[in-house]
């Protein structure tokens, strides 16, 4: 598999290098064609509906898991919410551990990997196809997903590998291997390998190509059309400089600017919503009505539900297992504390930021509805709701924000580029961890993955939205298939940790340091 990847990476690079100047536009098409035809089978396998329905089994899989964890841990996401906040504030951190990775830092890093285009472009896709009702299901999925995240991040810390030099490697591949061994269940190694393969594909898909693709879409939206491979090559160059060249300064700037952009984005959304304060009631009316009737969208209320759940999962990655990799570096004696902290992630990502995007799109009237029936009108293809300028994806969000503030599309373009970049950096790390789990740690093996990663940046920017977004989804959801299977097996371990921690918290054995 290693060799095959190498070959395809090399040939793709040769293709780009030799043909770049003369056949610019046709490269786009060629890449597209190869891409769509080679990944189609994988996409249809993951998204195949239950027989006789239009309900993809994978969506049910995620929702059932989130529900099971929510019930099994007794609504932990609501009960532990205040405790999570005080953990992030550092109330329970030992001052003698200062200088180590804090809960806040682990959360912020994991968030910068998840807050990104899913929140801007993904939500626009969900609302564009599923209507306002998709928002309701998205919020619900976000709230339930908090329990999934809690489970996986606790395990991520508990079963991480700590090396002699003090560095750590954690994530589903480690907790699957060790946790299954501990419980005496076979096939742990097999599942861990399977997860790693999907994680590498997810890193190249949702964590890379989707980001490059939408960044390019936003750039052309502001500056006019030009071939995608140009954006791809520039992006790939910068990513290469950071992950291969070790240019920490670029990553550092991004990590500092991204949170600022996130706050700016939410504040702008809030201002737009408040400017249309009289529409807020109506917007929530549309969200509730749409959630149960669909208001004329393709597929009715099931269509809205599927879109909402899909986008929530893609945005906050609960149950996918990626966050467990990022969270496992925290310094704590209690793995469960990182579980508590991580449950804030879907809340911030989905319940707050995604909802803001959806509300702005709805409130600014981007979706066209029939004034007589109140139902939304479909576009010519019948696949999505007709929008004011025929926009979809990130262009729809951009149009919604720009209708209130004309200059916002430039800010959004910058935000999209930075979000895309920081998500790529995070996912290159997740992918790398899976890669080294499979092929062993070492400079050369790591370099091979990093080069492949950069090549996929170019492919992502050049391919059409359709095949890229489908493949992104498929790869990320495939990770969830393996990860959630393992979470079911390992959840009693988390429960034991939880009970022990809560009783010690109650008895005063664990106390605040402030």
């Amino acid at each position: 598999m290693n060799k095959k990847f190498n070959l395809s990476a090399l040939s793709a690079m040769a293709l780009i290098a030799s043909a770049a100047p003369t056949f610019a536009q046709s490269i786009d098409e060629k890449v597209n064609e190869i891409f769509a035809s080679s990944t189609g089978w994988f996409v249809s396998l993951i998204f195949s509906p239950f027989p006789g329905t239009s309900f993809p089994w994978i969506v049910a899989w995620l929702v059932i898991a989130a529900t099971v964890f929510t019930v099994y841990f007794g609504l932990i996401q609501f009960k532990a919410f205040p405790h999570s906040i005080s953990l992030v504030k550092g109330d329970y951190s030992d001052p003698n551990d200062a200088g180590e990775v804090s809960h806040f830092q682990a959360l912020a890093t994991a968030l910068s990997g998840t807050v990104g285009l899913g929140n801007i472009a993904g939500v626009a896709v969900a609302v564009g196809i599923g209507g306002p009702g998709a928002t309701f299901w998205m919020i619900l999925a976000g709230l339930m997903g908090m329990a999934s995240k809690f489970t996986e991040c606790t395990l991520g810390v508990k079963y991480r590998n700590e090396y002699e030099d003090g560095s750590v490697s954690g994530g589903p591949m480690y907790y699957i291997t060790k946790g299954f061994d501990e419980r005496g269940i076979p096939a742990g190694k097999f599942l861990a390998v399977l997860f790693s393969i999907f994680c590498i594909l997810g890193a190249l898909g949702g964590g890379n190509m989707f980001q490059a693709n939408q960044a390019h879409a936003q750039i052309t939206n502001v500056f006019g059309e030009f071939p995608g491979w140009i954006t791809g090559v520039i992006f790939a160059g910068i990513v290469f400089a950071v992950i291969v060249g070790g240019l920490k300064s670029i990553a550092r700037v991004t990590e500092k600017v991204v949170p600022f952009m996130g706050v700016l984005y939410v504040l702008t959304a809030l201002v737009i919503i408040l400017m249309n304060a009289n529409m807020i009631g109506w917007a929530f009316g549309q969200i509730f009505a749409g959630a149960f009737t669909g208001l004329g969208v393709a597929g009715g209320f099931v269509g809205a539900l599927i879109q909402g759940f899909k986008r929530a999962a893609f945005s906050n990655e609960a149950g996918v297992g990626s966050a467990a990799i990022a969270h496992s570096a925290v310094r704590t004696k209690e793995p469960i504390t990182e579980g508590f902290v991580s449950l804030l992630e879907p809340f911030i990502d989905t319940v707050v930021i995604c909802t803001m995007t959806a509300l702005v799109i709805i409130i600014t009237g981007q979706l066209i509805s029939d004034p007589e029936t109140g139902n939304y009108l479909l576009n010519e293809a019948g696949s999505a709701i007709a929008t004011v300028d025929g926009n979809s994806g990130v262009a729809l969000t951009s149009a919604a924000f720009s209708s209130a503030f004309g200059w916002f599309k430039y800010i959004l373009a910058i935000a999209v580029i930075l979000f895309a970049f920081s998500t790529m950096i995070s996912w290159s790390y997740y992918g790398l961890k899976a890669w080294t789990f499979l092929f062993g740690e070492g400079k050369t093996t790591e370099l091979v993955f990093k080069v492949i990663f950069c090549v996929f940046v170019v492919i992502g920017a050049a391919a059409n939205l359709g095949p890229v977004i489908d493949f992104s989804d498929a790869a990320i959801f495939a990770m969830a298939v393996v990860n959630i299977t393992a979470l079911y097996v390992l959840m009693p371990i988390v429960k034991k940790e939880l009970e022990s921690y809560l009783s010690r918290l109650k008895s005063g054995e664990i106390k605040k340091h402030v």
Binding site: A98, Q105, G166, S167, Y430
Partner: protein, 144 residues
């Protein structure tokens, strides 16, 4: 019981003056000196995934370096001149952490050096000396 004097020390010119002042005082009073070095650190900064992974190793390294290049030579010098001394090496907000060290050591006073700048940055963010004087639980001496 012997009194303890905490000296904020970062190896700079002014912190050396503070140390001398403290040593003289300690000799006269028969007090002991705690040499405090704080590595500026906030738990609310943003790091990349690689930095998270390496953090523990980096911290160990930073502590070792600070101990061998900053603290150890000073402790040697102090004990050579007959002053009883120990050290405190911590991460954190400088002024707050010096306060915490003073409390932990049961110190009777804190002595630091004056940096002597009045740049714009200091005006905006405040100086260590300023915040320490405001927040310290024990008297603070700022040595010019």
């Amino acid at each position: 019981m012997t009194e303890t004097i905490v000296v904020g020390f970062d190896g700079s010119e002014s912190s050396n003056r503070a140390l001398e002042f403290a040593a003289t005082l300690a000799k006269a009073q028969g007090a002991r000196v705690t040499v405090a070095h704080v590595l500026e650190w906030s738990p609310y900064t943003f790091l990349t995934p690689e930095e998270l992974e390496d953090r523990h190793a980096r911290r160990t390294e930073e502590l070792k370096r600070a101990d061998s290049t900053i603290i150890a030579p000073v402790l040697e010098k102090l004990s050579a001149s007959g002053v009883k001394a120990d050290s405190a090496l911590k991460y954190g907000h400088i002024a707050e952490t010096l306060c915490a060290i003073a409390v932990d050591a049961g110190a009777s006073q804190v002595i630091i050096g004056r940096t002597g700048h009045s740049s714009l940055a200091l005006r905006l963010f405040g100086s260590v000396a300023g915040s320490l004087a405001q927040a310290s639980p024990v008297p603070v001496t700022i040595v010019p």
